[in-house]
Amino acid sequence: MASTAGAAGGLDTFPKYLLLNAERFADRPAMRFKDYGIWQSWTWAEQLEEVRALSLGLAELGVVHGDKVAIVGPNRPRLYWTFAAVQALGAIPVPVYADAVAEEMAFVLDHAGVRFAVVSDQEQVDKIRSFAGRIPSLGDIVYDEPRGLADYDPEKLHSFAAVQARGREVLAADPDAARRWEEKVRSASGDDISVMLYTSGTTGRSKGVIVKAGPAVRATLDTVGFDALTEKDSVLAYLPLAWVGDHYLNYAQSYVSGFSMACPESQETVPQDLREIGPTFYFAPPRIFESLLTSVTIRMEDASRPKRWLFRRFIDVARKYGEAILEGRPVPLSGRLAYALGDVLIYAPLRNVLGLSRIRIAYTAGEAIGEDLFSFFRSLGINLKQLYGQTEAFLYVTAQKDGEVRSDAVGPAMPNVDVRIAEDGEVQFRSPGQFAGYYKEEEKTAEVMTPDGFIRTGDAGFFDKDGQLKIIDRSKDVGRLRSGALFAPKYVENTLKFFPNIKEAVAFGHGRDFCAAFINIDLQAVGNWAERNSIAYASYQELAGHPEVLRIILAHVGEANLRLSREELMAGSQVRRFIVLHKELDADDGELTRTLKVRRGFIGERYHELIEALYDGSTEKYVETEVTYEDGRKGCIRATLSILDAPVHGEGRLRWREAAE
């Protein structure tokens, strides 16, 4: 493949890159870790030494080509070294989520046929020992932190330091051992399995995704080239070790580009460590950006009046010019000057507090991100982009190029990745890093691989006019309106939920004439508004039914419809009628899952009268709803709800008229 050209000429495993980096970047930092309050660092040459000692020590324990080695724990240098040490022996690292309960972990270790486990501490040792008897293949356990393990039966239990010491003994005793180890690394095949990543298993049992070394390296080369990552970049590895994103963005990209990876002192110190390290490449799911913004907002509210004024003033400037300046679009001189002043007074200090001062590239992915939230960070001069990926792709499928960034799309296909939209709207891809199959699950592998070698993502989407992919929903949730137009409930709901006053929305429309919705107001946002405008209310129900509130929501729905109307495929899904619900959707009533996702089917049954009212043209409806209080008591609330008609835009309106006539 063309992408393997350049300095790295044809390397096809990560340990091969370790050898290369120990030569070309010998004195550059490879790993940092804050221990006892001080940042310790290891150069690439030192990292090679650590990995080699561990690798030879593991070989002494009996790790051989093809063995599966579980890696369990937080982001620690020693666990990252384990990946390379295991790969260097031709064995297969199997990272497992550290917070998995014993039962889940037992399933993965058993399914993968794990022979060894390298874990962080006593907690993980206890967990594995609790089920070790049920997994015949499982042998020795190696632990990093010795605390609490002094009194344990030492059989089949080794400290990380002891294993490395054993490796160093081998090196000292046999001057040829290092050369033979390197020879083994150099002669390894790119067809070996690089890693087995278990999916988190939100839908059923988790599956082991097999990623081969050659494809893994090829995929990494493409993304390293795409974002021009070099040995001068740095990251903070703080996301779960077992997740493809962490393994790819940090481990794989670090080995291929030579950048340095920092491990936080503990999970709780991440914000502070971020500030101290100042990474140049950063990934976070939308909820982390959301909590960053919330913390900024809260702290600003406590600030003195002049500071608040200054902050608001310059955030407005940033909102107006920030993104244009970031993308190099033309901006009037006055705007540039105001922005430069704002940068000195507000943006630069703010970036510094957030630990984002040196960010060159930041990504978010995983779920839809609100336009305001996305723009806020970009307007501060942070190059935040979106990507779309999957474990099965070894992460990247699409990503946004610098300067071509929007909040509502995830970018065009990555270099060397083919993406197509199937008949039913499902996104399918073929990529250099794509997985070789699910471990011991041929049937499931066949389900997701098309005969011509594409992978089914299970997501529905479409390409926008500018070639960026838009993900609208899980493809099994996508339906059709009676007119035959595509109906993607989650897309409609997300469009509505981007308004801070709307907390939750449930859209209906499959098999119907038009799209209609239930809406929950956000008590905090709307409550604040009511307080500011001296509107008195005694309960959620009263506030939700207040004519002024309904007017606001109506305007929001109209605005959402305008946004939907701009998209060819979504224009038919504009919300024509809606109800502002008299109660909050609640997990205690079974309306939401425990992770607060809407249970559309259940809501459809529970409120079927209301749904009928949405479609029969009535303007109000009386309902009685049973509710469960937090202490388990049941009650009943009664209300007469108004059903409102929302304005629709563009072509969609014509179709509606035709349908009505």
Binding site: Y36, G37, R147, A161, E265, E268, T269, Q272
Partner: protein, 274 residues
């Protein structure tokens, strides 16, 4: 990482008493405030390396007992033998000098100071340089401060409180304050650690964490521990031996299994109906 292992020998090294010997011997101690007899003729011992619990209902004289041991109060009768030396009265700072540290029932930290500074304060008794050099903060005093800071960082790592290193302790939740207080007493590298209700007001998870720390201090550092605690589950799990007080009198003494079945204890403390 391995530096932590050095700690194991640290506290025991300067102590001539071997593991399992009597470290502290309380002999016929009595204490009264005016007409109130807080402690009446109590004797018990604490052996080196063990976890010794003192239990009893409210007002039984448990905290008074700890206060006598670390020199807060002076007993009117009886004597205390600590590391082979007998004494009747002792100032609190002398107790510290001899290797006795304690935590309090109500957290007693410097609320406005950070976690780090509070634990550093625990090491002030071990600083060799005088005030003059410390104020200069140069040369030997600086070298010494760096050495102390290293020890403090080991404690911070041990108690898993890295994230609150720079937080003023007044802002911390109660469970964490208790942990910081334990950290400060550990900073003194005590031979005998007195804990007054280390788990009071904690939730289950915090209790589990605290139990783990106490066991670890005991096992890894070899520190002898005497503790007062009301949570019977914790007491029975943690302690090697238990002494039971009631109205200033000792009513039972022995390993958990023996004490658990002692009828006097059940009457006095667990309050089971007859």
């Amino acid at each position: 990482m391995d530096a932590r292992l050095d700690l194991a020998g640290l506290t025991g090294a300067r102590d001539p008493i071997a593991h399992g010997d009597v470290l502290l011997d309380v002999r016929n101690v009595s204490l009264s405030f005016g007409g109130v007899k807080a402690i009446a003729d109590i004797s018990f011992d604490v052996r080196k390396g063990e976890i010794r619990a003192i239990i009893g209902p409210n007002g039984a004289g448990k905290t008074s007992m700890l206060n006598v041991i670390n020199g807060f109060y002076t007993a009117q009768h009886g004597s205390i033998v600590f590391r082979g030396r007998e004494r009747r009265a002792m100032k609190a700072h002398e107790a510290v000098g001899q290797g006795i540290a304690r935590t309090f029932q109500n957290v007693a930290l410097f609320k406005g100071m950070s976690t780090l500074d509070n634990i550093m304060a625990g090491r002030s008794v071990m600083m060799r340089r005088g005030l003059f050099w410390q104020m200069l903060r140069h040369g030997p005093a600086l070298a010494e401060e760096i050495e102390h800071r290293e020890k403090v960082e080991e404690i911070i790592d041990f108690l898993e409180i890295e994230h609150i290193r720079h937080t003023p302790v007044g802002k911390l939740p109660y469970g964490l304050q208790k942990r910081v207080e334990l950290g400060r007493s550990l900073a003194m590298e005590p031979v005998l650690l007195l804990l007054d209700e280390p788990m009071a007001g904690m939730n289950l998870e915090e209790k589990e964490d605290m139990s783990r720390f106490i066991v670890e201090v005991n096992r890894q550092r070899g520190t002898t521990i005497a503790l007062i605690e009301h949570d019977m589950g914790v007491v029975m799990d943690l302690s090697d031996r238990i002494v039971v007080l009631d109205y200033g009198k000792k009513i039972a003494d022995g390993p958990p299994e023996a004490v658990k079945t002692n009828k006097d204890l059940i009457d006095a403390y667990l309050g089971v109906a007859h």
